[in-house]
Point group: C2
Chain length 634, copies 2
C-alpha cells in the first residue's frame, strides 16, 4: 500500500508498454524486487489492460493454478518480467535487464535510428537492501554506469521482525553514493506524487549513473490501526481493518470493483500501447532495410530463433585430438558459439583466466564499451548469477553464461535455483570440479555439489568427460532455453575418449564401449567427467581378463531419466546387476544406476590439500578400485 | 608479501597470545580472510613459536596430511582460528568472534575485574570486499558497534583477472563509513610500519565502532618483475623470480632458513605468552572466588563442558500433548536450552516471529545491550551463518543457532558447508520446510534441500515429526559440537505421534509402530517430518485390511547410516522388499532405503502457490498414495 503511488505513476504515466503484447521487445521493464507486495503489481497489470490478470485472477490470489501466485512468477503471468520473492534477486535481475539494454543499444543503435531504448525500473524494500546479493549487483550497476536503471527504495522502516532499527542502521544513501549511484530522497512517499514525478525526471537526466530514489513511506498506508506496523508485512489486514481502511481512504466500492471513471482513465493504455509498438515496428522495418546485417542479429536476439547451422560452429574432436582440460575445451566452445550466436555473452567472477571463459574476439563490457561481450563480474558469484538471469529473461535470444569454481555454486545457489524455476536458460560454467584441483584443498573441492544439483528440478547438470562431450553439453544447453545448464569441468588434462558422442550426450547416459553380446555384459562400469577415463581403463584391463564389459557415460542424469524405458534397458539391462560407478564426488544418488547389488565408488567426506594424483590415490578413486569392485561382482 | 608488514606488526608487537597454548581463552583472535595468502600466517606462527608449524611443516606446504594446507584450516593447524579461503567468510567469522567477545565481556566483566578482554583482527582483500557476505556481516558489525574488531583491508588493486578497476571501482572507504565503521587509510603499506602502528593505536581508541584500516600495498612486493601484477595472485613466483626477489630485498639466506637474530627476536613470545596466560589464570582464580556463579557459567563456555543434567530441561511430550507445528515445538526447546546452557544464543534473519526463535527470557543483543542473547541478523542469511560459525569457534561452549526459511539455506549454503568443514557446531533452525507452507509458492517451498544436505559431509540433517523428535534433534545437536545440525521444521500443525522417541532420533531411523512378528512385516512404510503422520495413518488403514505393517521414521539419514549392520537389519530387513517412503521433497536418494523394489513418493518438480492442503493433494503426497503403493507391493 505504501508503494501504490510509485506503482501508479510508473504504470499510468511513465512506463512505455503494450498491454496486449506483454513481450513487445522495446517495452520498459519493471521488477518488483519486494515480491511479497505482488498484489499491487497484479492490480496495476489489471488496470493497465493486460489480459493475463482479469478480475477473476485477482479474486483467485494465491490459489491453485491461478495467474496470481503469492509471489510474482514470470512463467505464470505475462507482464511479470522475472520471478521475485527471495529478497535481493529482483534488483539483481533488474541490473541484468538494464545491462542487456545498454549492450543492445550500443551494438544496434545508429546515429539516425535509436532502435533499442527502454528503461528498467525496480522497487526494492529494506530486505532487498540488506541482502548481499543486492550489494554485489548494485556495485556492478554503479561500475557499469547503468544510467537507465531507476530503482525505488521503499523506505518504510518496518521489516517482519519490527522496526528496521533493530538490525539495519546503515546509511543507505551514502552506501549507494559510494557505489557510484545517483541518489534522490523523496521524503513523503505516501502521497507526494509530484515529488516522485520530479525524482523520475531527475533520474532520467542523469545518464551515466543508475539512480536510487529513496521513497520514505508508511507500511500499510491508509490502514487506520495497522499502518506503520510490522503486522502488515506478511499478513493480511483482516476483514475489519480492511473495512476501516476503505472508510479512512473514502473508498466506498465493493472488493475488486473498479469504478467506471478509473476504468476509463486507464483504458487509454490499450490504444497507446498498441500505438507505441506499431510505431516501433515501423521503425524496425526501416532498420531492417538500412542495416540488414545488424537487423538479422537483433532479430535473432528478439525472437530467440537460432541462426541456421549454428551447431556447425561447435568444435569437433576425435580420440586422436590432443588431450586437454575440459575447462580449456569449454573455452573453445564458448569462443565458437560467440561468433555464431548474436545473444551469446558472459564472463566470470574474477576467475576468467582459471575458468577459461574469455571470448577472445571481444573486449570487456564496461561503462564506455558496452557493445563488448566479456562481462567482468568481480568476486560476486551470487550477483553474477542473478544478473545473468535478468539478461536471459530480457529477450529470448540472449544466452548468458557465467563462471566460477564449481564449489562456489554454494555462493550462488539461490540464483541457480531461480534460473531453474523461472526458466532462464543461463549456462553456468563451473570449473575445478573435484579433488582434481589438488592443492587448494577442501574449501575449494566440490564433493556434494553434483548430487545437490541433480536433485534440483529443471536444471541440466552436465559433467563432460572430454571435448566431444563438452561440445555436446553446450549443444543441449543452447537448444534448451527454458532449462539452465551447469557444466562441471576439469582443471586437469583429460584424454579424448573413444566412443563419446554428441548424440550420446543428448541421451544423458550412453554406452561408450562394450565387448559384450546380446545386451548382456558381465559387468557395467559407469562414470562421469574425469572418472570416465578411469572406468574405460579398468574396462580395458578386465577385458584382457576375458570379461565382457560395458562402459557407460552418465554425463547428465536428467537427460537419461527422460529417455524411454526401452532405451534405458538397452543401456542398463535389468538382468545385469554387476554394476560399478566411479565419480570423484559423493556416492549419494548413484544407487539409482548401480542398483541394489552394484557398487558406487566415490568420496563421502571432505577433500584435502595435496597434489591431485595423491588425493585420488588416497581417497581410492582409482582404476584398481574399479577392477576390484567389478571382480567382486562378476 | 604485501601483507607482511601488517602480519609482522600484529604477531610481533600487537597481539596477545600464548604460542604454547593456542587455545588460551583470552587470546586476541586473528583471521586471514584472504586465505590464499596463508603461507604468511604459517610463517608468522612458526616465528612466534607455535609447535603446530615447524620448519618441516613449512616445507610440506600443500602436501597430503600436512599442517600447512593450501588454505588455512582450523581443524588442521592449532593457531588458525577459523577456516578461510572462500572469500568473505573470514571477515564474517571475525564479526562473530568480535561479537562473542563483546557479549562475554558484557556478561562477565566486573567493575573490579576485566576477565574477558581481547581484540579480533582480520586481513581482507579486494575479493572479500566484493563478496556480499562481507557486506552483510560488516553492516551488522557497524550496527552492533563492535569496537574491538580491527580489519585490515589489503588494498593492492590486483585481483586474479587483473586490475581491480575492471570490476571494482566503488568507494570502499565511504561504504564502510556508511556502515558505521571508523576508517583509516595507510597510504604506504609496503613499508610504512609506523603508519600501521599509528593506525592500530587509533583504531583501539575508537571504542564504539569497528575500524577498517585500508592499507595500500603492492601485490608481490619485493618481486622486481612480478610485483603489482595479477600473475602473483594465485600462482607461485617461480624459482627465477624468487631468486630475483631475494636479491632485490637483500635476503641472502637459504629457503626456509630463519637467521639467528630473527629467531632470537621472536623467541621472547614464548615466555611473554606464557606470562600473559599465567597472569590471566591468576585473575580468573580470583574471579572464581569472588563471582562463583558467573565463573561457573564462563568456565562452561570456555571448556565446552555441558552443565550436568542439562538434558532434563528439554521438554517432553506424549501422544496426548496438543499437536503443534514443529517450529513452535522448536521454540520450546530453544527457550528451555537457553536457561541451562550458558553459551546458547542466536536468532533469525528477520523471521524471528515466523521461525519462532525468540528467547523469551532475554532481550536483544544490541550495541548498548550486548549481554543479551537474541541476535537480530536482519535479512542477511549468508552473513548470519558465517557470523555464527565465528561464534561457535570462539569458545567450545558457545552453541549458536540461526534461523530462516529452509528454502533460504540456498542463500547461506557456503556458510553451512564451512560449518561442516570447520567443525563448527552451529544449529541451523530452518522452518517452513516444504510445500506445507502453502500460498507463498515455489520460491519459498523447499524441494531438493533435504537431499542436498544429506549429500553434504559432516552435517546432521534432521526432519523431526513432532515434539519428541524435535527435542531429540536438539539433544543430538547440543551433544555433537563438531558437527553442525540443520533442523527442518514445519509451518503447519502436526500431531504428537505414538512411538516417537529421543532414543530413536539418536539412531536416525527407527520403528515407531509395527504389528508384524519376527522382523518380517508385509510392508515397511517410512517417512520424515510432516509426512510421518501420513505414513502412520496409511499403516492404520492397511492394518485394518489385515496387513502386517511397520512404520519407520527417518529423522536423520546420517545417524542411521552410522548404525551397526545388525541394527539396520532390525529396522530394514533385507528380505522385506515391499517398502514405501513418503516425503514432501525430492525422491532423490530415497532408493537407499526403499530398495530396488520399493516406491518413493515425493515431489520431483517445483511447488505451487495455493493452500497447503490443496498442494499436498494435487502433488500426490497423500495417505491414499501410500496405501496404493503399498498394496501394489504386497
Amino acid at each position: 500500500m505504501g508503494c501504490a503511488p510509485m506503482g501508479h505513476i510508473l504504470y499510468d504515466e511513465v512506463m512505455r508498454y503494450n498491454p496486449k503484447n506483454p513481450y513487445w521487445f522495446n517495452r520498459d521493464r519493471f521488477v518488483l524486487s519486494a515480491g511479497h507486495g505482488c498484489m499491487l503489481q497484479y492490480a496495476l497489470l489489471h488496470l493497465a489492460g493486460y489480459d493475463s490478470v482479469t478480475e477473476e485472477d485477482l479474486k483467485n490470489f494465491r490459489q491453485w493454478e491461478s495467474r496470481t501466485p503469492g509471489h510474482p512468477e514470470n512463467f505464470e503471468t505475462p507482464g511479470i518480467e522475472v520471478t521475485t520473492g527471495p529478497l535481493g534477486q529482483g534488483i539483481a535481475n533488474a541490473v541484468g535487464l538494464a545491462l542487456a539494454e545498454k549492450h543492445l543499444a550500443a551494438r544496434f543503435n545508429k546515429p539516425d535510428m535509436e532502435i533499442v531504448d527502454h528503461y528498467t525500473y525496480a522497487i526494492l524494500g529494506d530486505g532487498c537492501q540488506m541482502e548481499g546479493v543486492s550489494q554485489e549487483a548494485c556495485s556492478l550497476a554503479g561500475h557499469w554506469g547503468l544510467g537507465k536503471l531507476i530503482a525505488f527504495y521503499d523506505d518504510n522502516h518496518i521489516s517482519i521482525d519490527g522496526s528496521t532499527d533493530i538490525a539495519f542502521t546503515e546509511d543507505v544513501d551514502k552506501r549507494f553514493e559510494a557505489l557510484g549511484w545517483h541518489v534522490i530522497w523523496v521524503k513523503n512517499g505516501n502521497n507526494g506524487y509530484d515529488e516522485i514525478r520530479a525524482a523520475i525526471r531527475e533520474a532520467k537526466a542523469v545518464k551515466d549513473k543508475p539512480t536510487l530514489i529513496k521513497v520514505t513511506t508508511t507500511i500499510g498506508y491508509g490502514s487506520p490501526n495497522k499502518s506503520n506496523s510490522y503486522s502488515v508485512h506478511g499478513s493480511a489486514l483482516g476483514a475489519k481493518e480492511v473495512e476501516a481502511t476503505r472508510s479512512n481512504l473514502g473508498w466506498p466500492y465493493e472488493p475488486f470493483h473498479v469504478p467506471e471513471d478509473v476504468k476509463k482513465h486507464w483504458s487509454r493504455h490499450t490504444s497507446e500501447g498498441a500505438a507505441l509498438e506499431s510505431e516501433w515496428n515501423s521503425k524496425f522495418a526501416e532498420y531492417v532495410k538500412k542495416y540488414s546485417d545488424e537487423a538479422a542479429e537483433l532479430k535473432s536476439i528478439i525472437t530467440g530463433e537460432l541462426p541456421s547451422g549454428w551447431e556447425k560452429a561447435l568444435p569437433t574432436y576425435t580420440p586422436e585430438s590432443p588431450g586437454d582440460a575440459t575447462r580449456n575445451l569449454s573455452q573453445q566452445c564458448l569462443n565458437a558459439l560467440a561468433i555464431v550466436l548474436p545473444g551469446f555473452l558472459g564472463g566470470s567472477a574474477d576467475l576468467a583466466s582459471s575458468n577459461m571463459t574469455l571470448l577472445k574476439m571481444f573486449g570487456n563490457f564496461q561503462k564506455d564499451t558496452p557493445e563488448e561481450r566479456n562481462l567482468r563480474f568481480g568476486v560476486r558469484e551470487h550477483g553474477m548469477g542473478s544478473i545473468c538471469n535478468g539478461i536471459a529473461l530480457h529477450s529470448p535470444g540472449f544466452i548468458p553464461y557465467c563462471a566460477t569454481f564449481f564449489v562456489f555454486t554454494d555462493y550462488m545457489r539461490a540464483s541457480i535455483r531461480m534460473a531453474a524455476l523461472s526458466q532462464a536458460g543461463v549456462i553456468f560454467v563451473m570449473t575445478h570440479d573435484s579433488i582434481g584441483l589438488g592443492e587448494d584443498g577442501p574449501t575449494h573441492q566440490p564433493i556434494e555439489h553434483l548430487a545437490s544439483f541433480r536433485a534440483m528440478p529443471n536444471v541440466f547438470m552436465f559433467r563432460p568427460a572430454d571435448g566431444t562431450e563438452t561440445a555436446g553439453a553446450y549443444r543441449v544447453a543452447v537448444l534448451n532455453k527454458k532449462t539452465p545448464s551447469i557444466l562441471a569441468l576439469s582443471r586437469q588434462k583429460l584424454p579424448q575418449l573413444p566412443g563419446t558422442s554428441i548424440e550420446g550426450v543428448e541421451k544423458g547416459g550412453y554406452i561408450i564401449s562394450d565387448n559384450s553380446k546380446g545386451n548382456n555384459p558381465d559387468v557395467i562400469l559407469m562414470g562421469t567427467g574425469s572418472e570416465l577415463e578411469i572406468a574405460a581403463k579398468a574396462a580395458d584391463d578386465l577385458r584382457k581378463d576375458g570379461k565382457a564389459v560395458r562402459v557407460v557415460s552418465f554425463v547428465s542424469w536428467e537427460l537419461f531419466d527422460a529417455q524411454s524405458e526401452s532405451y534405458k534397458e538397452s543401456v542398463l539391462p535389468a538382468d545385469v546387476t554387476a554394476r560399478v560407478s566411479i565419480e570423484a564426488g559423493t556416492t549419494f544418488g548413484w544407487l539409482k544406476y548401480v542398483g541394489c547389488k552394484g557398487k558406487a565408488i566415490g568420496i563421502d567426506r571432505f577433500g584435502a590439500s595435496a597434489p591431485a594424483g595423491k588425493i585420488y590415490k588416497e581417497l581410492g578413486i582409482t582404476k584398481e578400485a574399479v577392477i576390484e569392485a567389478a571382480k567382486s561382482l562378476c
